[in-house]
Symmetry: C2
């Protein structure tokens, strides 16, 4: 008898009919002998509807109240799914993040999970109940409602799987697995049967939308086997584990394009120790994640400092940097959203030289100019002009021959 | 500096614009030096939308999950109202029923408040915050979400006013006070400046929709001065207190018609002790409120037992009575919804004879047949054929000359 955590995203629970289909899917798991904990998102469209209401009463709604507001979205789904499960004759009990209880820090809209109390859930499972938990939400130690940020339901699912020591965490979504590239951009992209945590981490960080980065981090940290599969069709999906494939590991597992990043350049900074700390510190203290960082070699004792953040954080970052620029006696700070980050990810890269060369050559042949470069053990990312993004992904998918089962 | 609890119903917070208007109203109270705790309902239409979703996934949704579902309605409103208050430069913090915390028993959808912890609210008030609380909801001692039943937000407001020892509890609604009769039925109906708790209790119990019965009970029990007023126009509204008016008390304060009751008759019950206990007990154990009870004198050792319940409880009551009827060896149980309960209420009745006579005579003159009669110290209720309800109210309003300031 396995303990499985199943997570269904907003599209999967987007209508009463879809919720009933999800209930049937869960019933099959239960019939197969599994004990099931379910994590659900808000019905698709609901979070945006709620944010629209907030916008209509306030130009700048408070983060605490936004969390109170949007957390109702998942609460509606847990109740409806529990009712649908009852209709199929299954026992089921719903819990909000606060009820479970999923304790987080107090950073509203971007809270991090500190602890989960698994006692109540284990009792329910022992009593043959399906446990239905609201994703994306928790409470801080003063019982204020917090949310984990968009996509946080994946993180909830993995955190629950870790706390309950589940045998597998299944992320049901609108795609049937992890692909070598976005199939809408590259029609010959292939679904991967398996992928390692490290690769998935790099793919998520590089813009692959299929799983939220933090959920993969969490799964890797607690070694929770994670499976991405479709809630609309049956299939094995993609399993994400520490085990590498039994076949020879392919060189590259995927190519991604992230269109949602923005570039910030601080120009004319006097070149002296502490620049990076002063600039990046100011931004990350506001809980804004910084991605690529490049510091150019200066001339005349002045240097340019460039980094990328999520597009939504651009205005706030520039605002935060304005006093810093003045303190550092730098010239100016410039924001730019006209860029795409293209990444090539693969664990095989470790033992193969020449990946960067292949990548840069392929882009050069298409006259695509590279702005910034950043590398890790198993990833190379470059930023390019946004309008070349799809061309770059298709070109690289071909250059690394990802359409073939082994490359 | 007074402490005021203000309650705004669903129509008053029915749109973002209405929520902003409510925020302005609260800002005026604060500017006048009051400390304000606000209780809000779900935006009008929202509870029905949620119940519709429940119906679409389950033929018989569980009471626990219905409470999880519908309690999101008020949670949306508290967040939006707090944001709107922030926009006006006021400090404000929202709380769900569970956060405050409003402890109830565990009777889902009809829970009763056991205790309210006022500490957090007093701290917020001391810090110049407007405290915004979700009406209608609480949690049981296992932290399950409960609701108080439709209209329960009034009860929340009064219970908070009692716990906080507030100076006044103001119920803002879509009418500007308590009337001698429903003005849609009787155009010459008058707004009452003051009314006693006892009268208001009888009026609410008799079908006047302006205040929920339990909120009036609660206010009377804890002596919370209660004021009903319009959220759409300014005016003094109607004050409900223990003090009687300084003028000579009018004989009758109001006439009501309740169209939502159903009559249940158990026919041919062997006339012996314990009938009432067996019949009424079976129904009230299921937390169904019984209103009028009439037992006719039997013939041949058989008697008919008749009582009324809320229309929504009819099917369940008949179902509950089926085994009882069989146990009692009675003939049959019959449900009937074609009736209206017409009530005449007035504290002046105590010291004046002849109210019943005037009432029965006026109805007889219009050929309106009386089915059941029940009386209290300050109320006489009769049930009649539903189609005569409006005529009966207009006839009695005239018979007691309620269009005049003193009658």
């Amino acid at each position: 008898m396995s303990l499985i955590v199943e997570k269904y995203g907003g599209t999967s629970v987007g209508s009463p009919e879809r919720i009933q289909a999800v209930a049937k899917n869960i019933a099959e798991s239960v019939a197969g002998g599994d004990r099931v904990v379910v994590v659900v998102s808000a019905m698709s469209g609901e979070t945006n509807r709620l944010l629209g209401l907030a916008d209509s009463v306030s130009a700048k709604p408070s983060a605490r109240e936004l969390d109170v507001l949007v957390s109702t979205g998942e609460q509606v789904t847990i109740a409806l799914l529990s009712m649908a499960l009852h209709s199929l004759g299954l026992g089921a009990r719903s819990y909000t993040g606060g009820q479970v209880k999923i304790l987080t820090d107090n950073v509203h809209s971007k809270a991090r999970i500190i602890h989960i109390d698994s006692k109540k859930m284990m009792e329910d499972l022992d009593n043959n109940q399906v446990v239905v938990v609201a994703g994306f939400q928790g409470v801080d130690n003063e019982n204020n409602i917090t949310t984990l940020g968009r996509g946080g339901s994946d993180t909830t699912a993995v955190a629950l799987a870790a706390a309950l020591e589940a045998d597998e965490c299944r992320i049901y979504t609108d795609v049937d697995g992890v692909y070598t590239a976005d199939p809408r951009v590259v029609p010959e992209a292939r679904r991967l049967d398996r992928i390692t945590f490290e690769e998935m981490l790099e793919l998520s960080g590089a813009g692959a939308k299929v799983l939220q980065l933090r959920s993969v981090e969490f799964a890797g940290k607690y070694n929770v086997p994670l499976r991405v599969l479709s809630s609309f069709e049956t299939g094995p999906g993609t399993l994400i584990t520490y085990e590498e494939s039994s076949m020879e590991q392919p060189l590259i597992s995927g190519i991604t394009a992230n269109m949602d990043e923005a570039k910030i350049t601080v120009r004319g900074v006097p070149d002296m120790p502490g620049i990076a700390y002063n600039i990046i510190g100011a931004v990350s203290e506001a809980h804004i994640n910084v991605d690529m960082i490049v510091q150019n070699i200066g001339s005349d004792g002045l240097t340019d400092f460039t980094f990328t953040v999520a597009g939504v954080d651009l205005d706030k970052s520039v605002e935060l940097l304005t006093p810093v620029v003045s303190n550092l006696k730098a010239q100016t700070v410039i924001g730019d959203t006209n860029l795409a980050k293209i990444s090539v990810v693969g664990i095989g890269m470790r033992s193969h030289a020449g990946v960067a060369t292949t990548m840069f050559q392929a882009l050069a042949e298409k006259s695509i100019n590279i702005q910034m470069i950043s590398t890790s053990e198993i990833k190379i990312s470059v930023t390019i002009d946004k309008e070349y993004a799809e061309l770059a992904v298709r070109t690289l998918h071909k250059a690394f021959r990802l359409e073939h089962l082994t490359n």
